[in-house]
């Protein structure tokens, strides 16, 4: 099992909350595609298992790629790796890019899953975020895609927006449910330093949502979606049974993946590798047949921490037996005191050798993680 992530570092405009790597100048897009192809070719030996089960185009905004560019990249993957016949092939897309024509083309290219950046169905919030679309564009694009037979659609939503009320969140959830996509990702808004929101926060022009309220909102989300038949298979991800994101699941289960493109990350079980977060530097290096990246070798302690912090997010929880066997970390013994407190507070439960967050525990996931890592 292996996955490939391809980062498309372009956006029409910058969303005020986003600190991912992207550029709003599309000038070098063609050169970028060439560089991405070159990196794919250059790194064929990175993955120990060459069979690719998931291919994921993320960004930035991958839907900004012209169909022939996307075709080129998929073709390169097919040429240099073994793309499994039933591979999950996801494209992140912004609603305003998803015209009927575009949808038809990408479907023809083999894209079988769409992750649509809706963020909210509230036009005021969309404006506040500096999104390039309104809610009706989002609704239209989802219905169009469904009409064309693309079933596997995920929508991204953001909660915890300053001044967002419970009623506003409820409306977002209702709208999302009415669209009946099999997958919904919901992220709490985090104010990142190097963003417009970060700056506003520093200047006291933006007050992040109070944690108590954000906690209540997250609870509402979990209850509403669960009632609608979605399972929370990861803290921020909800799906109808059988519709999980295979690619993203690989991040939480230690599957190796290859990250292509500027700022993309790769993982081979022993180290994490980060490509340079700079489009020109990235392109230049690949022109010379080199890769501009940094490698971080994981210590035993790092591996344990990552195991705990990723697995605890999943509905299956931390496989204690696997953790013990694979990384020689007997969590129940090493963290006995912490664990008994967490159990007493009903933040976690242990069943079948798995340690899982309770509903209450999910709200405090990071704090719980901190108690359990070495």
């Amino acid at each position: 099992m292996s996955g490939i992530y391809i980062h498309i570092p372009y956006c029409k405009q910058a969303c005020y909350y986003c600190d991912f790597h992207f550029s709003t100048s599309l000038q070098n897009k063609q050169q970028m595609v060439e560089a991405l192809k070159k990196e794919l070719k250059l790194r064929t030996t990175y993955l120990s298992d060459p069979v690719i089960h998931t291919l994921y185009f993320g960004g930035g905004t991958p839907s900004l790629l012209d169909s022939h560019e996307l075709a080129d990249l998929i073709e390169m993957v097919r040429e240099t790796y073994q793309l499994a016949p039933d591979a999950e092939l996801t494209l992140e897309a912004n609603p305003d890019d998803l015209t009927t024509e575009k949808l038809t083309q990408i479907k023809a290219l083999g894209v079988n899953r769409l992750s649509i950046g809706v963020q909210s169905f509230d036009d005021e919030i969309l404006q506040y975020f500096n999104r390039s679309h309104d809610s009706s564009a989002a609704i239209t694009s989802i219905r169009e895609a469904q009409g064309l037979g693309i079933e596997n659609i995920s929508i991204d939503l953001i909660f915890g927006v300053p001044n967002q009320t419970r009623a506003m969140l409820q409306k977002d959830l209702e709208m999302a449910l009415s669209l009946d996509t099999p997958h919904i990702s919901i992220y709490g808004l985090t104010i990142e330093e190097d963003t417009v929101f970060g700056k506003w926060h520093q200047q006291n022009k933006l007050t992040p949502m109070d944690d108590d309220l954000a906690g209540q909102h997250l609870m509402l989300i979990m209850e509403t979606l669960s009632a609608a038949g979605y399972e929370q298979y990861e803290i921020s991800n909800f799906s109808k049974p059988g519709w999980r994101s295979h690619h993203n699941s690989s991040y939480w289960s230690g599957t190796h993946y290859l990250g292509i493109g500027p700022a993309a990350h790769s993982y081979d079980g022993d180290s994490r590798q980060y490509n340079v977060s700079h489009n020109t530097k990235y392109i230049k290096a690949l022109k010379n047949g080199e890769l501009a990246c940094e490698i971080e070798t994981l210590s035993q302690k790092d591996k344990i921490t990552e195991f705990v912090l990723t697995q605890i997010r999943k509905s299956e929880g931390i496989n204690l037996e696997q953790l013990h066997r694979q990384l020689d970390y007997d969590l129940q013994r090493t963290k006995a005191a912490e664990l008994s407190q967490l159990l007493a507070e009903q933040l976690v439960y242990i069943e079948d050798n798995s340690l899982t967050l309770t509903q209450k525990g999910k709200l405090l996931g990071d704090w719980v993680t901190e108690q359990l890592i070495p």
Binding site: G58, Y187, D211, L218, S236, Y257, Y267, D302, L309, D366
Partner: protein, 595 residues
């Protein structure tokens, strides 16, 4: 003796004392340009960065004037109010003083008080208008101030620039012509005054002294009168840029003494050195035991570093005898030390030196002054820390130290300065216009009120113009109470403070609010309460943690999140536990930053 001149420099911080001193060393050939390092006399890094001389030194220069050879001893003085006793001893070792005034800034409070000290000791004052080359220089106005102050003539004032070297020869000539040669009797018994000391890790304490009568010879058996300790003068000499060993230091001259002294406490500034075989009957006047004025607890950030902190403090004490400390235990902070400092600057310096020279980061508790509790049973207790405050039912009354604070400022800021001092329980005693534009204000004010943030506030409201000098005037009865802070019902000793009853409510409220900001949410609600005795006067609550989860965690987020968790974990290890509440270290410093 006719060819000897002993002088010091009186100047405010930043008025260019050190630069001008360097010029004197250069023009007399004591240092060559090559050796020259800006502000030579300040040899601690810290001093150079702060631009102030913390420890005084002495340096000897040779100078030829009208065909005759002269020896000049420049005795450097510390420039801050915390070290006024050391300044007074340096002054007592001189016959003359250069009064250096910045030509654009005019006279400041510290300068005036040191000038008065110099006049008390009958020093010949040579006024120097420095930084005359700067565009903002106002030589006429500032000269008027000087003339008003010391009653000299306009032509007595030397114009100079430490930067360009202008006027430096005039200064040297004036020192020779105007400063009297030392008087004293070479055939009398030895009488020398210690005015400084420094620590040498190989040779022990080096004592810097001035001979008033008699002379000291290498190998002499000597005695320090105040401590009663006896030593042998293993090495004596004069101080140039390096030490120059000599066989004898004669009447009127300045020198150093090495006699294997290991403990700085044995060397008291102001003490008299005499010879054992022919001792003097009289101590040199003016000796005082230096007493700490400000007290605070110093604790290692990491409790495991206690022994290392102790070793560092011991080393610091070797060259700073004015630092006193004893072990102290706090329920919240563990093992640490109760320290006495000469003042707030001194405290800051110690803290910084611990950090720089010993790589020790420390937590400092609320600074306190020494109160006296008069007990119902007639006894009197010194209170250096809130924990030492007896039960109120056993106290008849409490007295606290008051100071006379002299503030010199531009006239524009008189209003805000007066209200600041009134807010600090001060009363105005005097208001004198030095010139149309500059005012000297005198306040009677409790010392405890100026140990926190007074100086910073004064600087802020006067846009940096006001300068402060103070001296202790005595004790007065005050209604002081001990204010305690409780977290989740448990008193945190390190956050207690002794405050005036009228201010306790405000203090408690602000401290609770600040702590609410600083204490991270935990699994349970944490009440923060301020109390006097059993009476709660303020309350805040840190709500229980409700949500603490980062939203997304994909490829690149994983290592980012791991690093974040590791960092949080590390920060948590440095937290202190009181009851079941975890307190970050900056909460203990919160009191110091209440505004």
């Amino acid at each position: 003796m006719d060819h000897l001149r002993n002088f010091c420099i009186i100047a405010h911080i930043d008025h260019g004392k050190s630069t001008l001193a360097d010029r004197l060393l250069q023009n007399t050939g004591t240092v060559t340009g090559r050796d020259m390092q800006a502000q030579l006399l300040d040899d601690m890094d810290l001093e150079r960065e702060r631009g102030i001389t913390i420890k005084s030194h002495a340096i000897q220069m040779a100078y030829k004037h009208e065909g005759k050879d002269y020896t000049l001893n420049l005795i450097d003085t510390p420039g801050h109010v915390d070290f006024s006793y050391e300044v007074s001893r340096s002054i007592a070792a001189c016959e003359g003083a250069l009064l250096i005034v910045d030509a654009s800034q005019g006279i400041e409070a510290q300068t005036i008080s040191n000038l008065y000290l110099a006049l008390e000791h009958d020093l010949e004052i040579i006024p120097v208008l420095n930084k005359i080359d700067l565009p903002g220089a106002r030589p006429e106005e500032v000269s008027e101030e000087i003339i008003d102050l010391i009653g000299c003539d306009m032509e007595d004032i030397i114009h100079a620039s430490g930067k360009t070297g202008f006027g430096v020869d005039n200064i040297l000539d004036a020192i020779i012509k105007r400063v009297p040669a030392p008087k004293g009797k070479p055939d009398e018994p030895l009488q020398a005054m210690i005015f400084d000391s420094q620590f040498n890790s190989f040779r022990g304490i080096e004592v810097i002294f001035r001979v008033f009568n008699g002379s000291i010879k290498k190998g002499d058996k000597i005695k320090f009168v105040a401590t009663g300790k006896t030593y042998e003068a293993d090495e004596i000499g004069t101080l140039g840029l390096q030490q120059h060993p000599q066989k004898e230091i004669k009447t009127g001259d300045v020198g150093y003494l090495i006699s294997g002294i290991k403990v700085a406490k044995e060397v008291k500034v102001g003490d008299t050195i005499t010879a054992i075989d022919r001792p003097t009957t009289e101590m040199i006047k003016g000796f005082e035991e230096v007493k700490p004025m400000v007290f605070a607890g110093i604790y290692p950030v990491d409790t495991q570093d206690y022994e290392e902190l102790r070793a560092s403090m011991e080393k610091l004490q070797l060259n700073d005898a004015s630092l006193v400390w004893e072990p102290e235990t706090s329920a919240a902070l563990g093992f640490g030390f109760r320290c006495g400092f000469l003042g707030m600057l001194h405290m800051e310096i110690i803290q910084e030196r611990l950090e720089r020279e010993f790589d020790m980061t420390v937590i400092t508790t609320v600074p306190s002054v020494q109160f006296k509790a008069f007990m119902t049973d007639g006894s009197v207790q010194d209170i250096n820390a809130p924990s030492e405050m007896p039960d109120p039912s056993r106290i008849k009354h409490v007295e606290e130290p008051f100071i006379k604070a002299q503030i010199i400022s531009k006239a524009d800021y008189v209003g805000p300065i007066i209200s600041l001092c009134m807010d600090k329980r001060g009363t105005i005693q005097n208001q004198v216009y030095l010139t149309a534009d500059r005012v000297e204000l005198t306040f009677d004010i409790p010392l405890s009120e100026i140990v926190f943030d007074f100086f910073d506030k004064l600087k802020t409201i006067s846009r940096g113009y006001a300068s402060l000098d103070y001296e202790l005037t005595g004790l007065k009865q005050s209604n002081m109470v001990k204010l305690d802070i409780m977290l989740n019902g448990e008193a945190v000793d390190a956050l207690s403070a002794i405050v005036h009853r009228d201010k306790a409510y405000e203090w408690g409220k602000r401290l609770c609010e600040k702590l609410k900001e600083l204490i991270p949410r935990q699994m349970f609600e944490i009440p923060i309460q301020a109390s006097i005795g059993n009476k709660i006067i303020s309350r805040e609550t840190v709500k229980a943690m409700r949500k603490n989860v980062l939203a997304k965690c994909y490829g690149g987020d994983i290592s980012r999140k791991r690093k974040l968790l590791d960092k949080q974990k590390k920060g948590k290890k440095r937290m202190r536990q009181v009851g079941n509440v975890e307190i970050p270290q900056d909460a203990f410093m919160a009191v110091l930053k209440l505004d």
